[in-house]
Amino acid sequence: MDVIFGNLDLWGEAIGNTLLVFLGGGLIALVLGIIVGAMRVSPIPIARAFGTVYVNLVRNTPLTLVFFVFVFGYPALGLPKLSPLVLGILAIGIYTATYVAEVLRAGINTVPVGQAEAARAIGLPFGQVMTLVVLPQAFRSVVPPMMSVFIALLKNTTVAAGFSIAELAALRATVNDAPDRPGNPMEVLLWVAVVFVVLVLVMSAVQRQLENRWRIVR
């Protein structure tokens, strides 16, 4: 217990940063993911092509490499200085956006063909086909896998530890390097694991709730 109460300030900072990376990355991922997802189902071939290239390229890149490019590579471009935290948020957001885009696209694809066809048959234009018929149905089947993406995002925030961002997984090094801090690596890491297990279990409980409430019976 000493490892928690002796380092309460560090734990607060670490959990704060983890949540910051999670929320910031999640926001970027949602916005960018919606744009890319829309590109991937749009009637414009070139937009579809760009979306496909982006998704396939980034999804086949390890997150660690994305972090590497942003945190180490960005300063080499001589642009205004950004802290590793901001760069890390950008990296994880851009990485997760591809998963968000794919979930959205798969969600749109779960809507039976007949729904969109019927909507077109009664003369609705593209915008109304999407907003009135397809998206409301797609939304329901998107929510559970979207929660999975966010659970993965939460777990992926640990990668930031390797790139001088003081979040939970980096706590071990911080505690270890300070001689007067109580706790050994084992204790710190076990507690970190406990925090993640609790967070993930809470999120998946929410996911199960939503899934049951919004299940479409066809």
């Binding site: 590109m39 189902v41 749009s42 009637p43 414009i44 070139i46 760009f50 086949n60 890149t61 390890p62 997150l63 660690t64 490499l65 590497f68 490019v69 180490f72 590579g73 080499a76 471009l77 998963y99 794919e102 979930v103 696209r105 798969a106 694809n109 779960t110 809507v111 969109a116 066809e117 077109r120 593209f126 086909v129 559970p144 896998p145 979207m146 999975s148 993406v149 659970i151 993965a152 777990k155 992926n156 925030t157 640990t158 990668v159 390797g162 939970l168 997984a169 071990r172 690596p185 084992m186 204790e187 890491l189 076990l190 970190v192 694991a193 993640f196 297990v197 279990l201 998946s204 199960r208």
Partner: protein, 307 residues
Amino acid sequence: MTSVLYDVPGPRAIARNRILAVITVLVVLAAIGFVVYRMLVTGQFTEQKWYVFTFSNVWIGIGKALGNTLAAFALAAVLSLVLGFVLAIGRLSDHAWVRIPVTVITELFRAVPVLVFMMLLYYGLPVIGVKMEPYWAVVIALMVYNGSVLAEVLRAGVESLPRGQKEAGFAIGLRKSGVMRLILFPQAIRAMLPVIVAQLVVTMKDTALGFIITYPELLYYAKQLTSQQGRPILQSAIVIGGIYILMCLILSGIAKWVEIRTRHSPKVRGAVPEAGPDPRVHDGGTNTELIAMQRGAGKFDGTSTGG
């Protein structure tokens, strides 16, 4: 590709689409152009920045690092498949005293980030007197995480089979092990093969986490290169990144190929209802969503790399 979402465009729609297409191209080119411009300004394309890559020693080093990456991936992949089978059998067991602990273990292993598990093995274990090589930390962490994910995949595969398969197996006098080995698993594996290969791509990507616990794999080597003459940071990221993307694309390509092959195979079509014209099995849709949609499965990691 034709979509049901919109009509064949008329003249006005064609004109509008053209304008939107031009805007898209301009925006994307502007973004790429800006990065290239900054790279030009900061001299990223100059000879000295790429100088390191003219040494054959560097390429031998890259080859060695690639070997390390592949060694970790290969062993982790095999072990996680084995563990996946064991855990899947445990979860499907009729005995509560086997099923419940195994379920708890798989759920736990999937909830802990891979990196934290790796760190536990590498930094944590020496505290209680067990010293572990980075290689084994990477392999064991990947094995445990991907093994439990694969167990879920296999379980979802078995549970998606019609009940009649199992009953018919018992009816012809097979025992539990025989039903599992001869009837349920072969069908489940065939149906879930694309998901299994996709999970192997995740394993491949996650070997890069070894970088953080100083396993000398590709990304670690890239980091070392950045301190060489000329500090080629972006350059080594481009070269190493290219290698990673190529390897993962090859594996993804195999996954895609397997998926197409299984979908056309009459053996699977007869057995698994999902493999038919179900809209969920849509071209290019992510495989992991498939399991996520089958009830109870894929809770934690729809499309994750565990991180």
